[in-house]
């Protein structure tokens, strides 16, 4: 088991190196002269040169890369121009908000998509099968920012069920003591049900928006993969041996059909982390996505680069976890290769 984890970690090293190189190149591709930019319009030629030396911009590209990697190793992502704060601090403070939203979105999507896919596959051409197909085709066509707005209109403006779409908590509730920084978990740990409810109602619409988006690929994959296993020989044998429909579907077919679904999760996370930015903007969610958008509007590049790097590393880490999980549920692959 540990051998496996270590090997997967080593496999991820080239990707991490690639990601760091690309983010470095993106920093260097900045239009104009970064030194003059950091110095401000009123700076003298000498001041610009000083800043250039301080930032290491007068050195060769490989040297700059070494400096960049050294800063990264120290956890230094540069300083935000508009707030004057280190980018790393800001990202660490805002990351839990984004993670809580994304993870809840995925869980919601999986809870609906997997049973739906299984039902659709075990009753081909029934109404639930058609509903599943319609939903998966429509789901991938929905722009997340648009679904988010529609939900706000229906549930906030028309029905008044949801609180106003502004952030993680309404202004009258104080955040729970920060242990995990996930408000849902923290408020439960503090046995504060009122805060839990407040956090949940704020979280519901953005999480549903994300969930709807992730639903389509997951349901589609579950359905296709269930259809595959249900028509395979071992399922036919199980049926012929007189096992109940339930046992055949769940114990035999479902467990085997789950593998490709877990693989799809990797791609789903790529889309989710991307559309997370859009959903955060719609719901004024104080995560790293809206941090990056604010920085973009102010032409403040250090936070944007830090954000891209964080997202890429997060995505790599999630893929690693999925990979390890995949090996756990399918031991055939783990130790043979």
């Amino acid at each position: 088991m540990w051998k496996l984890v270590i090997r997967r970690l080593l496999d991820a090293v080239p990707s991490v190196i690639g990601v760091v190189i690309v983010t470095f190149l993106l920093t260097r591709a900045l239009p104009g002269d970064p030194a003059a930019y950091f110095a401000g319009p009123a700076a003298s030629q000498q001041a610009v040169e000083e800043i250039r030396a301080k930032l290491g911009l007068n050195r060769s590209l490989p040297e700059q890369f070494v400096l960049y990697v050294r800063d990264l190793a120290r956890g230094d992502l540069g300083v935000s121009l508009s707030t004057g704060q280190p980018v790393a601090n800001e990202i660490v403070a805002r990351l839990p908000a984004s993670l809580e939203l994304t993870l809840l979105g995925v869980v919601l999507a999986a809870l609906i998509a997997i049973p739906l896919g299984v039902l659709a596959a075990s009753r081909p051409n029934s109404w639930i099968d058609h509903a599943c197909r319609a939903l998966t085709t429509a789901g991938v066509s929905l722009p997340t920012f648009f679904t988010g707005l529609l939900l706000v209109y229906v549930f906030y403006y028309l029905l008044g069920w949801a609180p106003s779409p502004l952030g993680r908590l309404d202004p009258f509730t104080t955040p729970p003591p920060g242990i995990t920084h996930f408000y849902l978990i923290d408020s439960l740990l503090a046995r504060d049900l009122r805060t839990f409810w407040a956090a949940l109602t704020q979280l519901a619409l953005p999480a549903i928006t994300l969930g709807l988006f992730a639903l389509a690929p997951l349901a589609r994959m579950t359905r296709a993969s269930m259809l595959g296993t249900l028509s395979s020989d071992f399922v036919r044998t199980a049926r012929a041996s007189g096992l109940s429909r339930f046992t055949v579907t769940y114990t035999y077919a479902f467990r085997n059909a789950l593998l490709p679904v877990v693989t799809t999760l990797g791609m789903v996370f790529s889309f989710l982390l991307g559309s997370n930015i859009l959903v955060e903007k719609v719901f004024a969610w104080p995560g790293i996505g809206s941090f990056a958008i604010e920085a973009l509007v102010a032409s403040d590049y250090a936070p944007v680069q830090g954000f891209v790097l964080t997202m890429a590393l997060l995505y790599l880490a999630l893929n690693l976890l999925i990979d390890i999980f995949y090996n756990l549920i399918d031991p055939r692959i783990g130790f043979a290769t």
Binding site: P14, S15, G18, V19, I21, V22, T23, L26, T27, A29, L30, P31, T137, A138, V140, S141, L142, P143, T144, F145, F146, L149, L150, V152, Y153, Y156, Y157, S164, P165, R220, R223, A224, L227, F269, S270, F271, L272, L273, G274, S275, I277, L278, K281, V282, A292, I293, L296, V297, Y301, V304, Q305, F307, V308, M311, A312, Y315, L316
Partner: protein, 280 residues
């Protein structure tokens, strides 16, 4: 069964594909002739008629500056489809060239390409597009470039895999023996044969490219106001949703959704047409 009969069969089997074709021609017509079809100037403001709900004069209402939303949506088609088509064309051209070379020659070129493609795929793709536009500058050309880069891996991978399984095929051996150069074999013998899966990839990708470009302009990258574009129009309408002026964001959002839906259905239909085994 002839292709035409098969096409008719696929259409009758799945009426949605037919609807997608109709929608597709509508989109193309809007993109080509949009500006001369619309009742109002998409940029003309009329503060007296600001934020009016849909009416006989303005079928889809007016926005906060009194501009006619229907006219803006129709005119925006050209820009939205234009960005997506150029991005997809760019990544198709580069991706298939690089993928064909890697799949045909193998070895070092193949390893380098695979590594580059894997590196692109190591990013959440929308985030990478955002980073590229932020770094290169906030212009429509860079939106096209960023969208092309994040779509590149799909074309490169398909082309590589399809060429790789065919490089030892009988007709390739025959072409080689009759003295064709490698480049000629790739261009005239292999490339036409990998076109069907590439076409499916293109139409599946188009919808995604449109979504991406609209998403980028929704967060304020690329297209600048007052230019009519679906993503920006939704962003402009976002603040009016909470006060109940739904039409400002709903109609452009619906247009965007329909366009993406149309290309996704076309992609599925095309796949059914080309490879009936792939149907899900």
């Amino acid at each position: 069964m002839s292709t035409l009969a098969h096409a008719r069969y696929v259409m009758s089997e799945n009426p949605l594909t037919l609807a997608a074709f109709v929608l597709f021609f509508l989109l193309v017509a809007c993109a080509l002739f949009g500006p001369s079809l619309v009742p109002y100037d998409p940029l003309a403001t009329d503060v007296a008629a600001a934020l009016q709900p849909p009416s006989r004069a303005h079928w889809m209402g007016t926005d906060s500056l009194g501009r006619d939303i229907l006219s803006r949506i129709v005119v925006a088609t050209r820009l939205d489809i234009g960005i997506a088509v150029s991005a997809v064309a760019l990544s198709f051209a580069i991706g298939s060239a690089v993928g064909c070379m890697a799949g045909y020659y193998g070895g070092g070129a193949d390893r380098i390409m695979t590594r580059i493609v894997d590196t692109i795929m190591a990013f959440p793709l929308f985030v990478l597009a955002m980073g590229i536009v932020a770094a290169l500058g906030n212009t429509v050309a860079n939106i096209v470039l960023a969208t092309a880069i994040i779509n590149l891996p799909f074309y490169a991978r398909v082309a590589r895999a399809e060429v790789n399984v065919r490089r030892e095929a009988g007709y390739v051996e025959a072409a080689r023996l009759s003295g064709n150069s490698n480049v000629r074999i790739i261009m005239l013998h292999l490339f036409p044969n990998i076109m069907p899966p590439m076409m499916v990839q293109i139409s599946l990708n188009m919808g995604w490219a449109i979504l991406n470009a609209a998403g980028l302009s929704f967060i304020g990258l690329g297209v600048r106001p007052p230019a009519p574009e679906w993503g920006i129009m939704v962003a402009e309408g976002a603040s009016y949703i909470i006060s109940g002026e739904w039409w400002v964001a709903l109609f452009p959002g619906a247009a965007l959704m329909l366009a993406v839906f149309c290309f996704n259905l076309l992609g599925d239909g095309l796949r059914d047409l080309i490879d009936p085994r792939m149907r899900t």
